[in-house]
Symmetry: C2
């Protein structure tokens, strides 16, 4: 039995997801005997660059390659850099963001029709945190991202999910339900604290479970040790 | 470019390595843009069962499958259960343990001659911890593992590495160099605390680096965002 894969595709919020308390590592730990969690996070990428990266990121797609059971797509936090502020370099307009998400989803579904794609919205932005932890020189004293603008990308992401009939984790709204979300969930106004990672983990697990993908439904590839007859172990390993 | 793999093969100390502060997650995080860290940990397994598991654990070995750059093998903590105590079920005699390690290494090297195999010895045992956190019913009041007996497996593991000419991480000795290792590194006398995980991570990174496998030597599969020309991004993605 080949172990199924769950691919995490996105920007730095995905790339850093195997750090301390990270949501990717937590998924890998949850599915430790059931699925390989494959990290395809590219720090700083917007959807325009993610589109250019997709063939390499998702592998050769050779005939022998098993379709992943699921792919998470978490993009938009960089697209949502304001076009007239210090990180304009990353900006992608909302309409193009939507189209790029559609193109990424189409690419995945065309290659792997059975694969569940789960969209994740960008998280909210703590503007104060961005000013305290700017990326490089931010001389104009204005945050390069605002929560309101990030929210418009979150809404665009949700509408793409609706148009494609796929699940979406609305991180932007979910996090803001908690008082003090700005510092509790975001380490620098944008990236996730361990508590912020925990929310992503829980929401992704809930979305996967709702679609029938969970530790209860995925098989183990090899017997649990408690199932092994130590006097005749080969018996337990026969398929 | 297909991203290289590092496979972690072993028992619960590998299976749990993507938990909080885990050494597997830390490796995945370190190599986040360079290599896939693939979890093949099987809780409770000894080398006898690992031998029966190896074909499934290491995949089909199809022609299109890229040889992993490295495989870590961390086994012996279960073999080293004493044959006359409560977890005798897991016990494998030292000579058979050595032969089984040889067979596992041969299997990997035959399939993938270029792959670096790194042996890791079982960690030391805190017998007090084992009595406080027994597995199931331990009615005789004696630890099912002792540090001395685990040490004989560690020595056997080191001698196998020498016979095969491959690197070995001597976790059993390394951990005991630190005063208070019993509680600092082991959560239940056997499994690893975050500090214990940190040592495994650092030692594995050192062993890989010594053999030329590091973040400095492995290429990225896609450009870093700082290398992308936002006015002509395609240029950066041409291979």
């Amino acid at each position: 039995m080949v172990r199924p894969k769950i691919i995490l595709f996105g920007d730095s919020i995905t790339e850093e997801s195997f750090g301390d308390g990270g949501w990717g590592a937590a998924l890998a730990n949850l599915f430790s005997r059931k699925a390989d969690v494959v990290l395809r996070g590219y720090s700083g990428y917007n959807t325009r660059w993610a589109l250019l990266a997709k063939e390499t990121a998702f592998g050769t797609g050779g005939a022998e390659e098993l379709a992943p059971v699921a792919v998470t797509v978490l993009l938009g936090a960089n697209d949502a850099c304001l076009p007239d502020r210090s990180s304009a370099f990353h900006h992608v307009p909302p309409n193009e963001y939507k189209q790029n998400l559609h193109d990424i989803i189409s690419f995945i579904k065309k290659r792997w029709p059975t694969t569940l794609v789960v969209l994740i919205t960008p998280p909210p932005i703590d503007e104060d945190g961005r000013l305290r932890h700017p990326y490089g020189d931010n001389l104009d004293g204005l945050p390069e991202r605002t929560n309101e603008f990030a929210g418009s990308y979150a809404k665009a992401c949700i509408s793409v999910a609706g148009e494609c009939g796929i699940p979406v984790v609305d991180l932007w709204s979910k996090m803001q339900q908690f008082p003090g979300w700005e510092k509790a969930f975001l380490s620098d106004g944008l990236h996730l604290t361990p508590s912020g990672n925990r929310i992503v983990f829980e929401e992704v697990v809930a979305a996967l479970t709702k679609e029938g993908i969970s530790v209860d439904t995925l098989p183990v590839d090899l017997p649990l040790f408690s199932q092994i007859d130590s006097s005749d172990p080969q018996k337990s390993f026969r398929v």
